[in-house]
């Protein structure tokens, strides 16, 4: 019980610290809190936007967690999701005539496969060449950013727009949005994210392959002695991680924009690390943690125009404090030690 309380406490502490800073800035913290809550959950539309922001965070959180269970730190979810989204959009642009039920299916497959391929690179380099996945994934994020912008600007640009984005996908590709949310772009992608979390749990804790991944992450020497092909397991886990990150493209391209827009991701890949961390890498927790960070993202976005003193920058400080507090795992153990 106490184990589950700790992350909750961390969020509260971070939030409290953030509110203190808004107080110093001259805002009534209670008012800030009220704006935060109403803007995240106040109406059907607000709730919908919160869910919309949460969806990619579930995918990236699962991605980071999957790699983590294999003993790898995937900082490359950002690059993987960019590639996934671009591949989904490219499929829809290059094959515009495909009819509805098949079209989103193949586009989704393209998202997953592109993400998986991008994730497999650091997995393969780690397994075969010993290159550290942290360095490689960070570097590949830059490569992915460059690659997607080159494709967007030179190969598939949208001639009707001044914005850096691709052309529209074929009409058969679009997934309808839930009307309940008054126009907030909540699509089937949210449902898929929940299902994905369930499948990840089933895979990691119930299958033999999942056990081998976790054994590798726990103790690679013991796994190797137990007949597990550690290298192959690592590559496989990184592919799965990449595929999960690539699924962000389903919600963004098929469920929302209908095209690839450069800079659509407010660093979902990096926030995914915090989501996984807060959830202790458990799929159920990842859904909750993603909802929390989604709400925080939506809530803080409103602070800029709803309050007098809390600027966009300050609202990011507030978000960062919650993140920091979540990540300060060691601080808690230290505090506990001090008391005993």
């Amino acid at each position: 019980m106490k184990k589950h309380l700790q992350p909750l406490l961390a969020v509260m502490l971070g939030l409290a610290a953030g509110l203190c800073i808004t107080a110093i800035a001259g805002e009534n913290p209670l008012h800030v809190l009220k704006v935060l809550v109403t803007s995240a959950f106040g109406s059907r539309y607000d709730l919908g936007m919160t869910l919309f922001y949460s969806t990619p965070l579930i995918f990236t959180g699962l991605s980071v967690a999957m790699a983590f269970h294999a003993g790898l730190f995937n900082i490359g979810a950002e690059g993987q999701l960019l590639l996934g989204a671009l591949a989904g959009a490219a499929t829809g642009i290059l094959l515009p005539g495909v009819p509805w039920p098949i079209a989103p299916f193949i586009a989704a497959c393209a998202c997953i496969m592109a993400g998986a391929a991008w994730g497999a690179i650091p997995g393969w380099l780690r397994a075969r060449r010993g290159s550290h996945e942290v360095i490689v994934t960070i570097m590949l994020n830059f490569v992915a950013a460059g690659l997607t912008s080159w494709v967007t600007l030179y190969l598939l640009p949208n001639p009707e727009s001044q914005n850096p984005e691709t052309r529209h996908v074929g009409p058969g590709y679009l997934v309808s949005q839930f009307g309940f949310f008054d126009g907030a772009p909540v699509s089937a992608a949210f449902i898929i994210a929940i299902i994905a979390a369930g499948l990840v749990w089933l895979f990691l804790w119930r299958t033999t392959a999942g056990f081998e991944i976790r054994a590798t992450g726990q103790n690679e020497h013991a796994a190797r002695a137990a007949g597990v092909n550690v290298g192959r397991t690592r590559i496989f886990a990184m592919m799965l991680a990449g595929g999960l990150a690539g699924m962000v493209g389903i919600g963004e391209v098929l469920g929302n924009a209908g095209k690839f827009k450069m800079g659509f991701s407010p660093e979902y890949g990096f926030t995914g690390i915090a989501v996984a961390l807060l959830a202790r890498n458990k799929p159920g927790g990842i859904i909750l943690a993603a909802l929390l960070f989604g709400a925080l993202h939506k809530g803080t976005a409103a602070l800029d125009f709803e309050t007098e003193h809390v600027t966009r920058e300050l609202s990011m400080v507030l978000q960062a404090l919650v993140l920091l507090s979540v990540c300060a795992d060691g601080l808690w153990t230290w505090l506990k030690k001090g008391r005993s």
Binding site: R206, T208, F211, Q218, A223
Partner: protein
Amino acid sequence: MTPESPRPAPAVELRGLTKIFGSLKANDNISFDILHGSIHGVVGENGAGKSTVMKMLYGIYKPDAGEILVNGRSRRWNSPEDAINAGIGMVHQHFMLAGPYTALENILLGDEPCAKSTGWLPRALRPVATSGARLKLGGLMRKYGMDIKLDTPVENLPVGTQQRIEILKLLYRNADILILDEPTAVLAPQETMELFANLKKLRDEGKTIIIITHKLKEVMGFTDRVTVLRGGRVAGGRETAQTSADEIACLMVGRKISIETGGEKRNRSTGGSVLDIKNLSLLPRGGQSSRHRLKNISLNVKSGEIVGIAGVEGNGQSELLQAILHPHDKSCVSDGAVAIHASMGLIPEDRHKEGLLLERPLDENFLLGQQHRDIFYNRGFVRYPALRKSTREAMETYDVRPRRIEATAGELSGGNQQKLIIAREMDRIPGLVIAAQPTRGVDIGAIEFIHAELLRARDRGAGILLISSELDEIMNLSDRIIVLYEGEVAGTFTRDGYNEREIGLCMAGHQ
């Protein structure tokens, strides 16, 4: 402590020493004396608190309660340096020597003498003057009968000599009280004899020597007095001459116990070959010395026999083990062939590293390596109910405590971890068992049990390769003994021809 005695104050008096780590009382009210000019054994099982109490005496830990008296004076150390200045020195189990430096440089390291004429320079810039040190060391070596080449890099010297350098270093710093932590773990039997001969000479010259050990034979053979620790407390103190190995063992475990395992000595019928190794070689990696690799090893294990691999640690045992486990990995086998003709069970050399998932519950640890067996595998899914049932049964059969399947492997004691591994590996009735250091770091009770299990597996028809640095264990259990020295087979002995002296010479590299 004995007022009627005419002796001076004991060299060391420990009074009520207590040390607590978190919720663990590592030492609880430890009191005993160590007399001047004696060899004092401190014995106990792993985790009994031997090292903790010695680290307090040496200033590495600060006691939470109690006091330390050296030569009758109450002392408090802030660091080992204080202890060294008071004449206490320690030889650690893993030597603290810088490999590429010469013996002389290692001895002077940290306390380099300088010529008087350079006194005006800042300390760090003064050139080292070695002539005085050489003179002093020469005198010490003559006095204590040591012969060490001072100008050879220590990495090129045998382990026994490295240990003597450590001792010489303490003597050079005027230590009167020497603490040796498990000094014989890395020595061949002959080197052990030499070490104790040296220590006796030191004692006769008036030095006080404390030996931390868990080997009863050494306690009985070489000490004057012995203190037994159990569970962080003093279980008893004895004059060695007035006690027996059985009594000491009894004090160590807290119950009566038989020390002899007694493998069957009769000739046994053996079956077909289960492990064949032919001309196995492992070349050294570029730049490393070639001493600890494998050279042209051939051996085989038949079903129904135990083949013991004897040798001082670091003579190719680990490499041999890795070659058997990963025969197709080029970093484990560079030439030759390893053929395994039966299902294999492995008791790894380092159970934390190669045998367990320390943070995972016991059922997952039980699954490790068996995940593809039909009873636990169902079309890609793990049969968790069957796994839990098997784990519970195995824990019952092999007496793994606590009997909580949710406990993590890291929560178990060393002996229980080893029992869990043996339960897992024996559960699939392997035709070949590789047992590497199977009783390292486990208590005497568990040793008995593990030996009995290995004999049982052999009687059932399994072939067993036993790799151990405990010669007694090898001689007790094995039907054949193969001695490794510097990566080569240095000798083969059959049960009729066992002779501790000859095997020991073989281990030390004297053919």
